[in-house]
Symmetry: C2
Subunit: 242 residues, 2 copies
């Protein structure tokens, strides 16, 4: 594979939601980039502001709107020379329509990339389960994109969503890396596969940090890895054609 | 431990040397920061420019001077709102005297922090070994700081430096995570402990990625972890006193 060596692209990462997920996403971007020396890698600027108000709380009507923070972060990235923005937080994508017109840069849409990936790379999959924050679920982010591509979405019931998924996401955000999160997440995933899910989307960037892929019987789809791959593709295409 | 919650500090990371080491450093900074939610973490801006010319080549007289790239990255960080700069690359510290006066921000000196850490936290250690790039060794970076604190430094002989250490560093930069790097690094570390080293400094940010701590019989000192701890201490002190 030809790499993005000396690409004109500067990847802007609007991060901090949460910070561990941002570090994990950048590690995936580096690991996904082909190359044999430092100089083959992409220039990247990361604005990681963990003080951005909680996205799920805002979507449930309980907290301040994070939009001003997201706009401010986009400005920092643009002024630093970024040519494209990636947001490694699923829930924050609920606010993308509010910032897209003001960011001054294209935003590579993580959830749109997941829908495209499933269609192109896994055409046999017609039903997928979703493990995500209550904010992402309520905002219908995956529903909207998967509908467009004709893929059926299976969601946890309310009890599993609150007790298993959100508890695990909060445990990862609090630093748990000891399996505290993996049991409830694996249980929630099993309930989705019992209901026909042929793959499960780890639809919150904290989830791959808490749930090992082998704890799930079906493919576990990692949106942050798919976003990293989309960025490398973009940089490679532009550097070879432009 | 009281955390740096809502610190006024914005950590600026001048990275990309290499990019995997930068991702690893940011993950360590996040893991080191006390807190139970996203909002307890430090605002951070990372400029990761892997196209910066190789530091070792410049120090050996074979490559372009990376100073202009480092100055440019410092400017990006300052304009993005950083209040302090950290450079998670040992070899790049050879160029710190050239950028310190122009960066417009304090630089937390990783190698100085390692010398301080050894003196304060490990007062029984009087002789340490160093695994680092040939650039770091030739520039005498650790020699200078450890001399000041009265610690004796043991270096690999020329053959071990070239054949084991540099080969391993290049393997990690090329993406090796499969043990290719750990054998030569463990061999080089053993030669240092045979010559009296009571601890070994993993003095290139790629080395902790290639050498597991348990492959060495004495404590393996990780400068990037010590730098992360110094930043958290700085942010915590300033937020509680200022």
């Amino acid at each position: 594979m030809r790499g993005p060596a000396r690409s004109a692209e500067v990847i802007g990462i609007l991060g901090g939601m949460g910070p561990a997920a941002t570090a994990d996403f950048y590690a995936k971007l580096v690991a996904t980039t082909p190359g044999s020396s430092d100089q083959d890698h992409l220039r990247t600027v990361i604005w990681s502001d963990p003080t951005i108000p909680d996205r799920t709380e805002a979507l449930l009507g309980d907290g301040p709107d994070p939009t001003p923070w997201l706009l401010d972060g986009s400005r920092v990235l643009r002024e630093a020379g970024a040519t494209v923005i990636a947001i490694p937080c699923n829930t924050a994508h609920a606010f993308v329509p509010r910032i897209a017109g003001h960011a001054g840069l294209p935003i590579v849409h993580m959830i749109g990339e997941v829908a495209r990936h499933l269609t192109v790379r896994r055409p046999g999959i017609h039903t997928v389960g979703l493990l995500a924050t209550t904010g992402t679920v309520r905002a219908g982010l995956y529903q909207e994109w998967l509908d467009r591509f004709g893929i059926r979405l299976v969601l946890p019931d309310g009890d599993s969503q609150d007790r298993d998924v959100m508890t695990a996401v909060r445990a990862v955000k609090a630093g748990a890396r000891d399996g505290t999160a993996s049991e409830p997440l694996a249980r929630a995933a099993r309930r989705l596969t019992d209901r026909g899910a042929q793959a499960v989307i780890a639809g919150c960037t904290e989830i791959p940090l808490g749930l090992p892929a082998d704890a799930v019987d079906v493919p576990l789809v990692d949106p942050s890895l798919i976003l990293a791959q989309a960025l490398v593709r973009l940089a490679t295409n532009r550097s070879t054609t432009g």
